[in-house]
């Protein structure tokens, strides 16, 4: 059995999500090849070659792959698929965008958001916002999986796999990249951070969010998250949303400030190792899953906490 892992990368480097998805790919039992598709992505391919457990890196470079548009990328992967028994991608927005497209072209039912590999054909995955865990067995000849990276440890380094160029496939030409606005931040990336501090609707404004949540996060060297309510209200950017339909995180420490604990939010953070909740309502559901709860006003508690750390 041979598995193709679709790398998540930014051309000049590899995302942590790739090393984590590699752990899931390795558990399938076969040889793992990693596909790095991009433009000027040699550095990312070299980084992938150093991951322990990678037998070979395929590097596909073309302008069409520069922004990971689903249409050309799916065609590339379908062209390579014949040699593989399984195709795995991290459940990032790139993986979620392209892999179902590949699956349909191969007439395979994808297994989304795999949290455990039970056997090479059987997988655990959460449904209903993580309120139930399903074990499914795939009867398709090829297995197509997206991996919930927060459920897997990153594969170690120390490997030395060869990097082979692969030819780009023709761009179907139906989609064009226009622009992107990606946040540049000194803070750790939300998906891989050891500590996450998240703020909710209680913050009341972007100014207040910036004033009390960010200093605490920076003191802790933490990534910043938010509830949907805080994002919808414009206190925090979209890609900070933690939850069923946002990012799923499992840091060592998760601090939920002024967040009630709706099931959709819990779905994105309840596997954190230690959860701290700060809320003025002692009955807030977030306290049911918090290891440490502090009842009180975030506008007093967060600055005090930041000051005393």
């Amino acid at each position: 059995m041979t598995t193709l892992l679709i790398a998540e990368h930014h051309d000049t480097g590899l995302s942590d999500a790739t090393a984590k998805a590699l752990s899931a790919a390795t558990q399938l039992g076969g040889e793992v090849h990693v596909l790095v598709a991009g433009e000027g992505a040699r550095a990312a391919a070299d980084a992938a070659a150093q991951l322990n457990g990678v037998a070979k890196v395929l590097l596909a470079e073309a302008p069409a792959y520069a922004h990971r548009l689903a249409e050309p990328l799916a065609d590339l992967i379908v062209g390579l698929a014949g040699a593989y028994d399984a195709i795995v991608a991290p459940a990032t927005t790139t993986g979620k965008n392209v892999l179902p497209r590949v699956a349909a072209l191969l007439d395979v039912m994808q297994v989304s958001d795999v949290t455990a590999v039970v056997a090479p054909d059987s997988f655990e995955r959460p449904i209903y916002a993580g309120n139930a865990i399903q074990t499914v067995r795939s009867s398709d000849a090829k297995k197509l999986l997206t991996v919930r990276v927060s459920a897997f440890a990153a594969a170690a380094g120390g490997g030395l796999a060869p990097v082979e160029p692969v030819a780009a496939s023709a761009d179907p030409g139906v989609s064009r990249f226009v622009e992107e606005s990606l946040a540049v931040s000194e803070r750790p990336e939300l998906g891989g951070a050891k500590i996450v501090v998240s703020g909710g609707r209680a913050l009341g404004s972007k100014e207040k969010f910036d004033e009390v949540v960010l200093p605490l996060a920076d003191k802790l060297g933490a990534a910043v998250g938010a509830s949907r309510a805080a994002v919808d209200a414009g206190y925090a950017p979209n890609d900070w949303q933690v939850g069923q339909t946002g990012k799923v995180v499992a840091p060592e420490l998760y601090v939920a400030a002024g967040i009630s604990g709706a099931i959709q939010h819990l779905a994105g953070m309840k596997d954190s190792r230690v959860i701290v909740a700060i809320n003025k309502d002692a009955e807030a559901p977030i306290f049911q899953i918090a290891d440490y709860g502090l009842v009180g006003d975030i506008f007093e508690i967060l600055p005090e906490l930041t000051g005393k750390l």
Partner: protein, 249 residues
């Protein structure tokens, strides 16, 4: 341009579901059902396109049991013109849903199909991408903003690091994210009017689609419960416990 919207009947997002103790699935008896929230956003977007003069007709499609009619009525009350129910009592996986929607798209020839990014029951996040693949159309997933032109559609997408804007040649597929719009509530007069709008009934066989699942559900269990926590009295106690008990600081 005709717009097709896919709407799924799912457990209402406010319901905390229960897993059956014997591991055979989720207990859906007497549970409140609603339109998948992302599909409400999809219908809303279609209605706005029609109000803006871009869309000429909105057709809502649902695959599910007879009761999915209610979901279609909601779509009609929000502003869809007519509806198609592909009736089945079986579980239909995203791949088969995409095949059925492909059949509808081939018959209806829409310029745009809008779906939700994810159904909140299976949390699969696949159907729109699969439909795009089967039709050979471009896809604008996780849409934050749409701007429709004559021959192309500009879609701004919510991606991990921020926002990405792509331009797609029509016909195209869009899947909605939360910030695309805020769906309207159906008004009473519109609910009344919706009762007179047509719902056509079909079966998967009409589209020649085999809906046999590819995934066998071996078991369904509750997630691991977290151990109970404690309430601390002060910031000092919190810091002390995080340092000396939890070891995370």
């Amino acid at each position: 341009m005709k717009v097709l919207v896919a709407v799924k009947r799912v457990v209402d997002y406010n319901v905390k579901i229960r897993v059956k103790p014997d591991g055979t699935g989720v207990d859906l008896a007497n549970v409140k059902m609603s339109m998948n929230p992302f599909d409400e956003i999809a219908v809303e977007e279609a209605v706005r396109l029609k109000e803006a003069g871009t869309a000429t007709e909105i057709v809502a499609v649902s695959i599910g049991p007879q009761q999915a009619q209610e979901t279609l009525r909601t779509a009609l009350a929000m502003g869809a013109d007519r509806a198609i129910l592909i009736k089945t009592d079986e579980t239909v996986e995203p791949l088969a849903v995409a095949k059925l929607l492909k059949g509808v798209a081939e018959a209806e020839e829409p310029g745009l199909v809008i779906l939700g990014k994810q159904a909140i029951d299976d949390d699969a996040n696949q159907t729109g991408q699969m439909l795009a693949a089967l039709l050979g159309w471009p896809q604008g997933t996780f849409a934050f903003k749409l701007a429709a032109g004559e021959t192309a559609l500009t879609v701004t997408r919510e991606v991990d690091g921020g926002l990405q804007t792509v331009e797609l040649t029509l016909p195209a597929i869009v899947t909605t994210d939360l910030r695309l719009n805020e769906p309207r509530y159906a008004t009473l007069p519109n609910i009344m009017k919706a009762k007179k709008k047509p719902i056509e009934e079909k079966t998967p066989a009409d589209y020649g689609v085999d809906t046999t699942p590819r995934l066998t559900v071996v078991k369904t269990v509750e997630p691991q419960k977290r151990g109970g926590g404690i309430v601390v009295a002060s910031v000092d106690e919190l810091i002390d416990r995080l340092k000396n008990e939890a070891g995370v600081l």
